[in-house]
Symmetry: C2
C-alpha cells in the first residue's frame, strides 16, 4: 500500500521558485481545510474532511498517559474525502493535485470512489472534483458527469488521463484569494442554485 | 485522552446470559454498519461511518512492503460519527450505547458534537441520535431538539443525564430485525417525509 497523498503532500519540499504569491506553497488540502473552516465560521456551510482510514493492530496503554498506537496501517478510503451540507443540499467531493502540466491521470481516482460519486448523484446530491495543476498554480472545479465520461472511456480501452485543456474548458477555474482561500461554493451557487 | 468507545466496544466481553436472541451480542456500531451496507446495496441511501481521527507521529517504510505507523494517538472527533444522503436530504447522526437502565449520561456527548448538530439543523439537514440501552436491549432514535433541551439545561446546572423514560416517550423504538438490522430510515420516513 502506498503512503496516502495527503500526508506525503504536507512533507513535500516545494522549491521556492515554483511558489507563486497566491499559492504560498500551501497544499490543496490545506487550502480546502482553511476554506471549510471559513465557511463554517461564517455559517455558510458545514463541510469537513473525513479522517484517513487506518487499521489499528496494536495499542499500548501506559499508566497515567494517553493510549499509544504502536502498529497500524493505512487503508484505502471507500468514499471521497470531503462531504457536508450547503443550502440544504448534500455536498460531496474529492480533491487531487497533479504535477503534470498536460493532463490529470485517472490513476488518482479509485473505482469505489467513482461508484460512490455515482450513488451521490443518484440520490440528488452534489458531487464534484477539485483538481489542482500544481506547477501551473491553477485549481478547477470539475463536474463528475465529465469525469464519468473519461472513466467509462478508459474502462473500454480509452486514454488513462483527462487532458488539461478539457478540464480548462469543461471545468471552472477557482480563484485563489485571501479569504476564503478557494471559494468553490460560489461556483456551486452558479451551477446548482 | 481516553480510548475511543467504538474500539473498546468491539473488544468488550458481553456475558452470554445478557445476550438476547435479537441482539446476538453485536455492538451498536456493528448493527449500524450492517444496516448502512444494506441501505447502500439496495440503493436506498448512502450513509457511512467516518474513520476514527488519528494523529500520526511516526511512520516506518520497510522495503517492498506497506508503510507501518509506529506511533500514533487517538484524537477527539470534531463532528458526529455518521453522515450521508437519503432521499435528497443530508443525514447526520451520532450513535451511543449505555449500560445504564435508567438514563443516558450526557458525558457521552461532546460540546463540539452538539454545535455540529446545531449547524446541521441550521442548514436544513436531518440530525438525530441513535441511543441503545444495552442491558435492556432497546435502541431508540432520539431527535436532537430534545437532546439540545437537556444539554442546555445541564449547562445551567440541570441534570447530567437524560432519563430512560424521556427517551422511551420522546424517542422512537427501532426494532431489531434480520435485514436491515436496525431500520432507522423507516422512522426518518415517518418524521421528515
Amino acid at each position: 500500500m502506498k503512503y496516502p497523498q495527503g500526508i506525503r503532500q504536507s512533507n513535500r519540499q516545494v522549491p521556492s521558485s515554483n511558489r507563486s504569491h497566491s499559492n504560498r506553497g500551501m497544499s490543496l488540502e490545506e487550502d480546502i481545510d482553511l476554506t471549510n473552516k471559513y465557511y463554517l465560521a461564517m455559517n455558510q456551510a458545514v463541510i469537513h474532511k473525513k479522517p484517513t482510514p487506518i487499521q489499528i493492530v496494536n495499542v499500548h496503554y501506559p499508566k497515567r498517559s494517553a493510549a499509544v498506537i504502536t502498529e497500524a496501517y493505512f487503508q484505502q478510503a471507500s468514499t471521497t474525502d470531503y462531504n457536508g451540507i450547503y443550502r440544504g443540499k448534500y455536498i460531496d467531493f474529492e480533491a487531487k493535485e497533479t504535477r503534470s502540466n498536460t493532463s490529470f491521470p485517472l490513476a488518482n481516482i479509485h473505482e469505489h470512489q467513482i461508484e460512490h460519486m455515482r450513488s451521490v448523484i443518484d440520490h440528488q446530491g452534489i458531487a464534484f472534483m477539485i483538481i489542482r495543476f500544481t506547477n501551473l498554480d491553477e485549481t478547477y472545479l470539475y463536474g463528475v458527469e465529465h469525469l464519468f465520461e473519461f472513466w467509462d472511456q478508459q474502462q473500454s480501452g480509452g486514454r488513462k488521463s483527462i487532458p488539461y485543456k478539457e478540464i480548462k474548458t469543461a471545468g471552472h477555474l477557482i480563484p485563489i484569494k485571501y479569504q476564503p482561500r478557494i471559494a468553490y461554493l460560489s461556483i456551486i451557487d452558479q451551477l446548482y442554485f
